[in-house]
């Protein structure tokens, strides 16, 4: 028996060792791990497994579709684009995988990563090794406040969400409420992680700048089981407008408990996160009507200002058999395309320096990319031609969809305020 359990233990250890080996090398790599000469090789780092897998994978799909598109059109300067993909389900894996991509796979540019914590961790590694990190999804402001020289971000910042939300209130509030901006009472609520805190902070600054009265400034844990005390506090504050930043779980919980406890607010502004997702609408049902989501552009926007959007949707449907699950795919699709242009401007020279200079040379005006952004990277690496778009959930043909209401160039529908009572 002892002999047997010893053998079993040995077998388990060996199995564990082998479990580290994966077979996800891209098709363009042969058995020795050599990439065919001449290909443009880009590392990708997304959470495609684990708790963030839904949107991490959605993000990766966008990048992958961009890669397929450019390869069909002849590649970059005649050379095919190849991804070497890494999966980063959490920050520990992000650090480890970034190291692997750089030291073992020799990547000189990494494209990623959907979530701010993943981005923070992996870009740290990239910066240390002087490798370009091109971020398409993580919005937390601190990401580009570290004085990095090798990092770029295609998506706008968390602060833009908070500010955009309050600006939406300032634009529509006076008419909907029948009172001037200075008399509007706004409550700012956010999950207490870096994403929520950043958005909340900038929302408050913008509200004060606009002269509104901030009647509540509350944080809460996104893992709460119960938000009733928060909602009671908000009821006591009696706001006209609510700016709330949540992940999906807490967005649903808040909404359901608000309905249960009779907390209604005429302007309900979500800032990306949970309020952007179809799962949110499905879970809360008809009370999603009128909820605003300030976010990257989603799909119901003015396609005249988003050239390439239709083609993207066709490609997505052809490749995956459904409509996109969120705006992350078209975001990463456009971001990857901007990166490809940067590499083209670098003459296809795949050193970090050349790629960095190439990306800095990219100059695409707003409303030119499939997700309606432009691309022009400022001194910190931030894309100055990115911006937040306000959408409102409205009933369209029996289904709730997010329709763009602001800015005007992208709006497809009139906003409805105050939102329907629930």
């Amino acid at each position: 028996m002892k002999r047997f359990s010893f053998l079993l233990a040995v077998l388990l250890v060996v199995a564990l060792l082998f479990s580290g080996c994966t077979d996800d090398a891209p098709a363009a790599v042969d058995e020795d791990g050599e990439v065919y000469e001449g290909d443009i090789v880009i590392g990708t780092l997304y959470p495609v497994s684990g708790p963030m897998a839904l949107l991490g994978d959605e993000s990766f799909r966008g990048a992958e579709l961009a890669r397929q598109k450019i390869n069909e059109e002849g590649g970059i300067l005649g050379r095919q684009v190849v991804f070497v993909s890494a999966d980063a389900p959490d920050t520990a894996a992000a650090t480890a995988e970034a190291e692997r991509l750089i030291s073992q796979e020799g990547m000189t540019v990494i494209l990623g990563s959907y979530a701010s914590p993943i981005s923070m961790a992996a870009s740290e590694v990239a910066e240390r090794n002087q490798v370009v990190y091109y971020e398409s999804g993580g919005i937390a402001n601190p990401i580009l406040e570290r004085g990095f020289e090798w990092m770029f971000r295609y998506i706008m910042q968390a602060s833009d969400l908070g500010i955009g939300g309050i600006q939406t209130v300032a634009s529509y509030g006076p008419d909907a409420l029948g009172k001037p901006v200075e008399e509007i009472k706004v409550a700012i609520v956010f999950e207490d992680g870096p994403y929520g805190s950043t958005v909340g902070k900038y929302a408050q600054e913008e509200a004060e700048r606009q002269g509104m009265q901030v009647v509540a400034f509350e944080s809460y844990s996104s893992e709460s089981i119960d938000l009733s005390s928060l909602i009671e506090r908000l009821k006591a504050a009696d706001p006209d407008a609510l700016s709330i930043t949540s992940y999906i779980n807490d967005a649903i919980l808040f909404h359901q408990q608000a309905e249960e406890l009779g907390f209604y607010v005429p302007l309900f502004i979500g800032n990306g996160g949970g309020h952007a997702m179809g799962d949110f609408a499905a879970a809360v049902g008809s009370t999603v009507d009128g909820v605003v989501n300030v976010d990257v552009a989603q799909y119901a926007i003015n396609w005249d200002r988003a050239p390439g959007m239709e083609e993207f949707l066709e490609r997505y449907e052809a490749a995956y058999g459904t409509a996109p699950r969120s705006g992350h795919s078209v975001l990463n699709y456009s971001g990857a395309m901007a990166l490809f242009q940067g590499i083209e401007l670098a003459g296809g020279v795949m050193t970090s320096e050349a790629i960095r200079d190439g990306i800095r040379a990219v100059d695409i005006p707003r409303y030119s990319m499939p997700n309606s952004f432009g691309a022009k990277f400022g001194p910190t690496g931030q894309n100055e031609n990115s911006f937040a778009v306000a959408h409102q959930w409205q009933l369209v043909d029996g289904e709730y969809k997010q329709l763009a209401i602001f800015p005007e160039e992208l709006a497809v529908v009139e906003a409805v305020f105050p939102i329907p009572a629930w």
Binding site: P51, A53, L54, I225, D226, L227, E232, E260, L261, D279
Partner: protein
Amino acid sequence: MELFLQLIVSGILTGGIYALISIGLTLIFGVVRVINFAHGEYLMLGAYLVYWLNVLTGVDPYLSFFVVVPVMYLAGVATFKVVIKPVLMRPSFNQILVTVGLSFFLQNMALLFFRADFRTVQTSYSSLAFRMSDINIGFPRLMAFVVAMAVTFAIYMFLKRTYLGKAIRAVAMDRQGAMLMGVDINFIYTFAWGIGIMCMGIAAIMIMPIYPIFPLVGQMFVLVAFVVVVLGGLGNFTGALLAGLLLGVVESFSGFFIHPALKEVVYFMIFILVLSIKPSGLFGLGAGYEEVGLK
């Protein structure tokens, strides 16, 4: 005044959920004396079972009781026989590590098979609420509270009035003595573990209309469950009920009057205070029972 009452009502309703997820844990603690770190994962598995039953057969979560309860009992029995029994005679650290490993295993199996998407069950009563003179009471939460009381009462009566219940209490009190009196320890352990997991299955049914589920949802609840169980006294499930309700009310008030982000801080502070003054928990069996689960 209404505000005060509303806070109490909301607190008690949440406390009912806390109590429900803790009853099974305290039973396992008290009888088998093993700290089950995988307890939250059974909530997750039970919830997925309810979800898939609803999606595949359209059965209402509350009605799926008749399927979920026996299945979860069997899952508990299986877990005990396969995972726990081999380490029962081993040092308690090994037992803890085994349940932690089980927890990771179950979480990742769920991630693998069910993916990380959030699932919700649509019911007609998810947002149903009663309004009684300005006090709002959500129907699903009210049901969860009622069921928590019912389950506690049922287990209490079972332990007090039946022969098997007496045997279980004997094992919890003094394992050696019970063995000497002819109690089949193995059966008692298996049964208690099964019932403990079954309670988690009931909890899963009651929370389905309220929370979305995903593979890591167990983690959200399990920490509170441990606090409730220790606060109430390990092995004392009426203690668990009362501690759960107390925790709910404390959270509700501190969330309102102090700050929503600090409500966990308050109850953890109370937790630490109680443990320093009365380590066996608020309703624990007194000195000598502090180390249930470690001996």
